[in-house]
């Protein structure tokens, strides 16, 4: 977040932030006006445009090393709403826009629609919801006050739930309903927290709040309620029960969006809340508690993933585990007196981005395997690596990133977290990180060795898999591998707009 002096005015190019949110909304409205048959072509134009806007904002923030902000309608906080783009927002914005665009390329095969054909439900819903997710994510990254973030969170949920039950089968409807009920509980808890914080400080603007916040019971209660609510939406152990059926039951493209993009939205809000809105409130005990939940997610998620018989369920449980890594940054950054504050935060955000690319690639690969074989039983994958080499290569590269082998993004993320465990003398988290990596490698190799084994019967492919779908999956997988190279490049952008010294004065 910018310093207080930068708070009150719209910076040059601030209007780009509005564009990032408005573009997808325009696309949604146009889809309804022109009809669902045009939804895909509108998305094909607007999602890349939205990526361009994100890239421009990224470059501006990176080069000027200051945050961008836009005061909506020139109504200044505490009454008005400010949009802000700091280092965390721009990095996430670009990463998510790239993932969404590649998912769009992949989804053309399943949800493509010609303008001449009759309007069908699933393609229309898919493209509209994809644009809605893109807009809601940008709003989450840019929103500068807690209530705007609440609205963005709800937009994201309402766009994600229909994606779960696109095919309308009973199991997926059940999964969607369960997801929605968890999400509703989460959002109402977040809302209670917002009300309590407004009651205590008379503002919801994140920068103003960080200046006024004090450690007192109402603030602690509010932050706790909001965090638990967001845990439910992020599917952190033990609130992860809705995730595997929802993510495994959806069509491949939808699973990729849900697993790669949507869970990162509520995670980002937790980061915003603890590191920007109420800095210094994260006590050592609270940090350790969040870390224990993250560690349990890593261990339980990975072990349950090992026992899965279906490929998509395995990947969904692996998401549960990888979400755990995101929360290891909290105990590592909980002590504001340590200089490693920045490292753990960078590691956590990098984990979010590399998981997004790797997991989207793996879900796409699983979808292609399912389409080719007509099932995704892991024990009967034999021969598929010969039939779909590019797909299984993408799956393997994604797996390497999740394990954390160099030079992948997952390696860099876990390395930064490990370094932070040593620097803050919290060796117990290092054990969890390493054990998690071993378990991840176990299930990745089980799948790969089955896929490279000989088929029990001659393999007949149900459908031919389009090349561009394989290329989209491989592109994302390569991206997750190359992410490790950002260590030599724009990784410092994550620190733009963060306070120079951690808020030690609050102690």
């Amino acid at each position: 977040m910018p310093a207080a002096t930068a708070l009150e005015a719209t910076t040059a190019d601030g209007a780009l932030l509005v564009l990032a949110i408005v573009l997808p909304v325009v696309g949604i409205l146009l889809s309804f006006v022109l009809g669902g048959r045009y939804a895909e072509r509108i998305a094909a134009f607007l999602l890349p445009a939205s990526l361009c806007v994100a890239c421009i904002v990224f470059v501006k923030v990176w080069q000027s090393e200051t945050s961008l902000s836009y005061v909506v309608g020139n109504w200044k906080p505490p009454l008005g709403i400010t949009l802000r783009a700091d280092g965390l927002s721009v990095a996430m914005m670009v990463a998510m826009a790239i993932v969404i665009c590649l998912i769009g390329v992949f989804a053309h095969a399943n949800f493509g629609s010609r303008a001449a054909s009759v309007e069908t439900r699933a393609p229309m819903v898919f493209w509209v919801m994809l644009m809605a997710i893109s807009g809601a994510m940008n709003m989450i990254f840019l929103g500068g006050d807690l209530f705007t973030l609440y609205v963005a969170l709800e937009l994201l949920t309402f766009a994600a739930v229909p994606l779960v039950c696109l095919d309308g089968r009973a199991e997926t409807l059940q999964a969607a309903l369960r997801y929605l009920l968890f999400a509703l509980l989460g959002s109402i808890l977040y809302l209670v927290g917002t009300a309590l914080l407004y009651g205590s400080y008379g503002t919801l603007d994140i920068v103003l709040m960080s200046q006024r916040v004090q450690i007192e019971p109402a603030t602690l209660a509010a932050a706790t309620l909001m965090t638990v609510g967001l845990f439910a939406k992020t599917a952190l152990f033990p609130l992860h029960l809705w995730l595997p059926p929802a993510h495994a039951g959806a069509p491949a493209a939808a699973s990729a969006v849900l697993s790669a993009v949507v869970v990162k939205g509520s995670f980002f809000l937790i980061v915003r809340l603890w590191f920007d809105a109420v800095p210094g409130l994260l006590s050592v005990a609270a940090g350790q508690l969040i870390g224990v939940l993250g560690a349990s997610a890593i261990i339980c998620g990975n072990i349950v993933a090992l026992r899965q018989k279906r490929l998509k369920l395995l990947i969904a449980y692996s998401t549960v585990a990888q979400i755990g890594y995101l929360f290891l940054m909290f105990p590592l950054a909980a002590d504001p007196l340590h200089l490693q504050y920045g490292d753990a935060l960078t590691g956590g955000m990098l984990q979010a981005i590399s998981h997004a690319t790797a997991k989207a690639a793996m879900f796409m690969a699983a979808g292609l395997v399912y389409a080719a074989l007509g099932h995704d039983q892991i024990s009967e994958l034999g021969g598929i690596a010969r039939a779909l080499p590019m797909t299984m290569f993408a799956f393997g590269l994604g797996g390497l990133c999740l394990i954390g082998l160099p030079p992948t993004g997952g390696f860099l993320a876990k390395w930064l977290l490990l370094e932070a465990t040593i620097a803050t003398a919290q060796w117990w988290w290092a054990i969890v990180i390493i054990a998690g990596g071993l378990l991840t490698s176990a299930y990745t190799f089980i799948v790969l060795s089955r896929a490279m084994g000989a088929p029990s019967a001659p393999l007949t492919l149900h459908t031919a898999v389009p090349k561009y779908q394989e290329v989209a999956a491989l592109g994302l997988a390569l991206l997750s591998v190359l992410l490790g190279l950002v260590a030599f490049g724009p990784i410092d952008v994550l620190q733009v707009g963060r306070p120079e010294a951690p808020m030690a004065w609050l102690r």
Binding site: V151, C165, L177, L180, L181, I188, V192
Partner: protein, 110 residues
């Protein structure tokens, strides 16, 4: 005890009842109703906060009032979507339950 405190306690009670219902009831429709009860409690809390922030000759702080309108719209949309899902699920399976045979144990947490 003044009126503001009384309303605050009412809100807290509604939140408690709603939360209990949301967690313990296995029926999706009852869960949705419990969510609405919980929501009403939170909206009342916003009203209490608006009342406590009364200043400058106004009977209440308008900001929480503006927020509560948005929150009510969001809760309404959420309820509509949940009901639509329950109805569709009932049409497909003949019974609207979110407990699948495999994960009976997971159900009481949802």
């Amino acid at each position: 005890m003044n009126a503001t405190t009384l309303f605050g306690l009412c809100g807290a009670a509604l939140v408690g009842i709603g939360l209990y219902g949301l967690i313990t009831n296995p029926e999706p429709l009852r869960k949705i109703l419990a969510f609405n009860l919980l929501g009403s409690g939170v909206f009342l809390l916003f009203g209490v906060i608006a009342r406590r922030g009364a200043a400058a000759g106004l009977g209440g702080d308008p900001v929480p009032q503006a927020m509560v309108i948005t929150a009510i719209v969001v809760a309404f949309a959420a309820t509509a979507m949940a009901i639509a899902l329950v109805q569709r699920l009932g049409d497909e399976t003949g019974r609207a339950s979110i407990s699948s045979d495999r994960s009976e144990t997971g159900e009481e947490k949802s």
